[in-house]
Amino acid sequence: MELFELTAHELHAKLDKRETSAEEIVKSVLGRISKTENKVSAFMTINIDEAIIKAKEIDDYIASGKKLTPLTGIPVAIKDNMCTRGILTTASSKILRNYIPPYNATVVEKILQAGAIPIGKTNLDEFAMGSSTENSAYKVTKNPWNLGTVPGGSSGGSAACIAADEAILAFGSDTGGSIRQPASFCGVVGLKPTYGRVSRYGLIAFASSLDQIGPLTKDVTDAAIFLNAMAGHDPKDSTSVDLSVPDYRKSLIDDVKNLKIGVIKELLGEGISSSVKKSILEAAELLKKLGAKVEEVSMPTLKYGVAAYYLLATAEASSNLERYDGVKYGHRSASSDDILAMYYNTRREGFGPEVKRRIMLGTYALSAGYYDAYYLKAQKVRTLIKNDFDKAFSKFDALLSPTAPSPAFKIGEKTDDPLSMYLSDIATIPVNLAGIPAISIPCGFVNDLPVGLQIIGKAFSEEMLFRVAYTYEQNTEWHKRKPKL
């Protein structure tokens, strides 16, 4: 096996035994990128020179006898909506085409402290708005399993680079499914942590009350290791929660005996492809065989999730994106005679159609006379969905659903039909609205395209998710399959 094919915990074991070096690992991954990236297009920026320099520093550090963290010497891909000091950060938008942040996001700072090596910045739907990464202003990332299909989105670049072995770990961000849905499409593991578990400082905001950073990895163990490194209270983020972080590796237990698991009825009904439904029911059956108590659960409010989400997320986005005005940084239209024209031209030239669509939706939802009917009403729906989850978790330890209604769709298939694109997040959006954690793991294939199983837990129950996911993974082989590139 080549080094680039390994997981972080496998590479760590080799580094710990001095069987390899950070430089060898980085060069292996860069070699892989040079072979496959022209097919996949996962990256916006690749830090070739910086990564090799950093790897040499890490090797010196290891040689000096210092203790390794699980991330020491591990190449990490960073979604291009997370600020990296001195490294171009575009959020895949033209409006930030030349933006070089003067600071690091907290999660970036944390993995640098842990000795990880940033290997590059990954492509996304502009400002994380989309479900296919086709909304990037720069490039279309392809699904490594079938280059004619999308990798999902918005963390499509991060999911695709993990599936293609172009990075060992990758950061994603998830506002309505942006980690889990691409994880599902690309056959990798993706976790959206509880809102407040991971600092958002330095994550370019899409919808502040929903955004959360999380890991995209090759297996569940790596997800636990990576979450260990990024989780925790950050004084720079008032919404990050001051709760101690458990060692998530300890929750990697191959045992689901007597756990109560609910299968969400409404997410196996209309709009869900029958082959996906079959994979999910088989997964549920396996967990039952392994000793879990599996039952169907009805959550009638979930069907309002997408509607509420597209009011709340767009409302917050319309405000979050006001700062891109050409005054301070990023793109500024060259041809403006006054400030108003500068605003109009800069934003007209800088934002893509989906971003403009969402700014308009959100602006409308917050406007005088419409606020109560839209924004406030959607907040009430959000509360109802939360209540529905609370009720379910009074009975169940975890809930199951498909991550996405179908496997990866064809490039261009849904670009002219935003509504059908929005509905591909029907199973993931309610989780963001409730602020709870969920993980997507590979659970089968349909026409050689991966299917993802979503496991949902109550707030701060990531340990439970890891336990169920790990048990499933240990008793299946899906995660071992690799796309042919």
């Binding site: 909506n81 997370m82 600020c83 950060t89 959020a91 930030l96 933006y99 942040p101 003067p102 600071y103 996001a105 958002r200 400082y201 330095g202 994550l203 370019i204 905001a205 919808a207 502040s208 009350s209 004084p235 720079k236 983020d237 008032s238 919404t239 409302a315 917050e316 319309s318 405000s319 006001e322 700062r323 891109y324 005005d325 005054v327 301070k328 940084y329 400030i339 605003y343 602006t363 917050l366 406007s367 005088a368 606020y371 924004y375």
Partner: protein
Amino acid sequence: MKYEAVIGLEIHAQLLTESKIFCGCSTKFGAAPNTNICPVCTGQPGVLPVLNKKVVEFAIKTGLALKGNIAKHSVFARKNYFYPDLPKNYQISMYELPLVVGGHMDVTVDGKAKHIGITRVHLEEDAGKLVHKGAAGLKGSTGSLVDFNRTGVPLMEIVTEPDIRSPEEAKVFMQELRNLLVYLEVCDGNMEEGSLRCDANVSVRPIGQKELGTKTEVKNMNSFKSVQKALEAEIKRQTDMLESGERIVQETRLFDDTINMTTPMRSKEEAHDYRYFPEPDLVPVEPDRKWVEEIAKTITELPGAKRSRLMKDHGLPELDATVLTDDKALADFFEECLKLYKNAKNLSNWMIGDLTAYMKAKKIGIKEINITPAQFIEMLNLIDKGTISRNSAKAVLVKMLDGGKSVNDVVAESGATQISDEGELLNIISNVMSNNTKSVSDYKIGKEQALFFLMGQVMKATKGRANPEAVKKLLIEALKK
């Protein structure tokens, strides 16, 4: 028909915290442009605000002093509007759920007590400053620059009920409020520099009518005097319009003190839709009750209470007490002096009189003067002991203030000591008497006026340094012989 005005004020006070409201940058005024800035206050992509606890403390302190209710749950919102001095293009400000609800301040206007209700006190961030190249304003300039040093400086907005009925009341209220904020040490109260700003909502209605008239909002009043003048101008404008049957338009107007008039700024139709919604990057402000109690304990004596105490305990007339308490620094100096000196009225006379005159002439405040309360009292003691005369003390004080010198040094240099020595005075008196025999005989035949002439001659001979009481006593004795 007779009309009355209905006025409500919105006051913005810059809080005296070391750092900004949502980041650690300094709030210092006058730094080079764009030096007190960071990723947060320049609205870089990805940054988040973190609330400065001191800012909340200051607003709670103010709320308690205004006898308002400290909300158990208050929420910051986003006020969205595009302007280049606002880096995020939204301002974080409390909206539906302010930190302080209710309260009041009682002021005295023309000897009558006036109760003015407080609607709310809330917190928000200040914007930056635009600098226009090649012109004083936007007009005629070749380009504009933004200075973000002020961006994120904490502002406290105080909104009054429409309880104010005259420009005079508005002015007095503003002065009293300023004193309160300065006493609480939450704001420096400087209207000219903009650390205290005031907008007014003004309407006019026939006396006796219950319904309010259409209001206008008046902005750009940057001194107590201009508050009064702007309101007078706006009330007159509205009254004239009503009298001639015209309809008042709801709008925002700017006061122009060069023409003493308000001019339209924007109409209601042009008003922004700010699309307020709760700020998702901050958690609600829920002050712990114990903390509120601790803050209450830090509130020292407020101007009204101090004024009453100076009158009651030290027998000062109201005017003296008012003048002294209107300036907290002056009051502090006065109280320091009182620790060393008993005669409060004499102290007050000197402070309000010669000392204040000196500061006015030099355009400085009491904090900038060169002498300490102890040095000031040393001088008063020398007058009381008769070592220097009241008259010569005036010049001595100026010399002390000019040079930062003690009274003894000044007196020694100028020889301004009073002559009280009987032997020395008797010599001079006998000289004066032998040179003015006519006056001596006039006195002896009962012309009392002659005594004053002779006293004057003694004073002249001593260049005013003779102790007048001693001279009078010795002269009468000598004339009896």
